[in-house]
Amino acid sequence: MRIRWARDPETLDPLFAPNLAAFDANNLLHVSLLQGDIATQQLAPALAEQLPTVQLVGDSLTRLQYRIRPAATWDNGRAVLASDVDFTLKLMLCPGLPNEAARNQYSFIRAVLPHPQDPRRFTLLCRGQSLEFAQASGDFFILPEHSLDPRGLLRRWSLADLQRQPLPLPADSGARAVAQQYLAAVASRSSNRLSGCGPYELLKWEKDRFLSFRRKPRWWGSRLQPAPLVLQARPQQLEYVIIPDVATAALALQRGDVDVFPQMPAREFARLRAAPAARSALRFYTSPSYDVATAGFNTRHPALADALTRRALSRCFDAAGLLRATQLGEGQRTVGIISPADRANYNDSLAPVPFAPDSAVALLRRAGWQRRSAPHEGWFRSTGRGADQQLRLLVRYRAEEVLFGTVALQFQAAAASIGVPVTLRPTEPGTFATAMRSGDFDVYLRVLRGNPFMFNFTQLLHSASANNVTKFGTPASDRLIAAIARADNPARRTALLRQFQALLQAEAPIVPLFYLPNRVAANRALTGLHVGSLRPGFAAATIERVAQPAP
């Protein structure tokens, strides 16, 4: 079974996956307490026996009770225990490891309380209360304490001790030894030194060429009857081949050198689907995804600080036309950053922002802008003191993203038609990240990746968050975001989410353009290929090859 990847995973560090390929590979090697089920689009118990039971303590603590499946073992036959969960969480706080992102992400878990009798049962004590804790507390890979910290050096601290230490952490000899052992195990790229309890082991990894995984002969998950979808592992061997160029990869698919081509670009997908030879050899799948193409405004910029101006400019994006041009009609328009596929939470009483440059002119006038003619052509607004503001925009997007090249050109043309000069700045990825953080842009274009489980917009749009690149935030929006994160039942959260979508459309700090489709092309001889909206868009471990009938 060969699957195309566009890039090398670079590292298989289970605590830090720098790209999607690394995340996919880790999913084969390791198991987390809960995993996304591509068929139901819900988190399903994987290493855990069941979804955790939630108990609210007072008004600021949550207790989540888990039990690990009794069948779950490491490769050497030892049982997976609560102490492994505790060790993994401590490893996320261990100095000297690339665990900064994980540290921030799981900082809400304050303690792992073991059960006095049952070593598989434990309680996670979480700071705060949120519907999402049940899911968020289970989506990290569990690592073996006995092989990474055989002497139990991290047991000296409690989780809270490690969390209390200010960053950067002082290096302690015990923690350093564990960190070094872990780093060496990751760098060795050997399944023997960093063995997970997942169904596959890494057989061979040739950088920038391929990774092959072999199914473990005695994997604990195969003893489960019936095996849940998240714990199925059918192919004996999985090979991921790294082909960066789309044309080359499509050719390899047609030749039968590659069996699955996930996340295929629109044009290649349409071309192959129209070709008779390819149609007879391949199957084509599409599903909605949770990735939304968005534009965002730098609200720190005085000209973009008011909602009217932002709303005017958001009418210069022809989302419907762009959807036709770039996705060839697939994908869905949206009113906000909740997917239209999520029927309950999507606010269907709002209408998508129309493409209407004419009405944008009226909105600009209402925002206090006046159009001047030559020699100083353009839109100006008096600030009351000093020189007048001029409305001119710098649009940044990643240079390699063809989609945003088209979006930017369309926006530039529409803005030019109403007299707003727009400069396009396709930017190299590293510089783009720096520019986003330093606020060196007026408008950005990028894909926002989501999932169906979590609706926490704190990092993205709360005014106190350093990751809020638009720097948007009003007391009302902050309150709403906090209320969504703290909502104690789904109905309440749905009401708040609908309200939030209306608020975002009125304030327009970001303009959601459309949800991108997920496209997968695969060999016809495969069965059991589940294509769905969860990343990476299909489940690799359930695929089987149909035996070819003898001629």
């Binding site: 705060g128 720096t434 979590m454």
Partner: protein
């Protein structure tokens, strides 16, 4: 002569060091901030607490400390404000640490993979050298043969020259894709493999079968590289051969009764080679720098993709190591050209 070469080598070494130092200092500004944000950082997830600016700064500091970026960059720091003065940082600085490690042969560890940079470069070179070496050898050999043939003014001179000029106008990715779509396409000619270097399980390494499969996979990429390098080399050599054949010594040689091929090979070629030697010096750094376009189109591993990836991800140790290698190759190529010119042209020897 030895003294002269030693002097050249010293100058070459100093120039390579200066080059790599500048690259080191440039890339290390504002590095930690980039490391935090992976390319897919635009995730809608996270815990309920906003990551405050202070927490963000602490996280960045932790990353800097982990990567050794918390020390000052250089021996001196520029003034932070207009009225402040330059500050002396002493020996505890990133540049000093890097330079002392480099003198011990340690290029550091890749930020992305955690592996030693030396090992990363060696792995990539093991793939790049056969590809680029083969391509350079074939291009030089082919250009020499073709130019010698063209100098005899056969009937095919005009169409071949026109073809070469046309080929030179094509970009390398165009040549690569054309070859791929023409010779590795089930809908056209399905003669060659479409990507990579063959799979894991096909052949055990070290056997003839493995070598054959390896070379088979290299045919199209090498052809793309040769086709892109050949026109320039051939047209240049041809032009200078034509010029030399019109000079007085060639007329004299013909008057002695020598046949035209002998005039070309024994008299004109050596003089005509001088400008081509400089062109060769251009090709040598590409030998170790890899060919990123061909590597991407044909999904081959190598230096080109390693360095391009390192630049995008700001993997400074790999990038600096790669620049050092390519820079040293360029300097050595220039030195080799000097020595070859010295050997080929007596006039240069007499002048010095």
């Amino acid at each position: 002569m030895a003294l002269r070469i030693a002097w050249h080598l010293l100058r070459t070494g100093l120039a390579a060091w200066a080059l790599v130092s500048v690259v080191f200092l440039l890339i290390h500004r504002d590095l930690g901030a980039v490391q935090l944000g992976s390319p897919d950082a635009s995730e809608q997830r996270g815990s309920g607490v906003p990551l405050s600016a202070a927490a963000q700064a602490a996280t960045e500091q932790a990353i800097d400390q982990r990567l050794g970026l918390d020390e000052p960059l250089f021996y001196v720091s520029p003034p932070a404000e207009a009225r402040a003065s330059w500050r002396w940082n002493g020996l505890r600085n990133q540049y000093h640490r890097w330079a002392t490690q480099l003198l011990r042969g340690n290029l550091g560890q890749s930020y992305r993979t955690g592996r030693a940079v030396g090992a990363e470069l060696a792995d990539a070179l093991a793939f790049t050298l056969p590809l680029t070496g083969l391509a350079v050898a074939l291009s030089v050999g082919g250009a020499l043969l073709l130019a010698l043939g063209l100098a005899g003014r056969p009937w095919w001179q005009r169409p071949v020259r026109a073809g070469l000029v046309g080929l030179q106008a094509l970009p390398l990715f165009g040549v690569g894709l054309l070859l791929l779509l023409a010779f590795a396409n089930p809908e056209a000619l399905d003669w060659f493999p479409g990507y990579g270097l063959g799979q894991t399980t096909d052949q055990p390494p070290g056997t003839w079968g493995y070598l054959a499969a390896y070379l088979w996979h290299l045919v199209l990429p090498t052809a793309a590289l040769v086709l892109s390098a050949l026109p320039e080399l051939t047209l240049q050599l041809h032009a200078s051969l034509v010029q030399e054949l019109g000079s007085h010594y060639a007329v004299t040689a013909r008057a002695k009764g020598l046949a035209e091929p002998a005039v070309i090979r024994r008299h004109a070629l050596r003089n005509a080679l001088l400008p081509s030697l400089a062109q060769l010096a251009e090709l040598l750094p590409a030998l170790v720098a890899g060919a990123v376009v061909v590597e991407v189109v044909f999904a081959l591993p190598g230096m080109g993709r390693l360095l391009a990836g390192a630049a995008v991800a700001r993997d400074a140790p790999v990038l600096v190591g790669g620049v050092l290698l390519v820079g040293a190759a360029r300097m050595l190529a220039l030195l080799a050209t000097d020595v070859l010119n010295f050997w080929a042209d007596p006039r240069i020897r007499w002048q010095s």
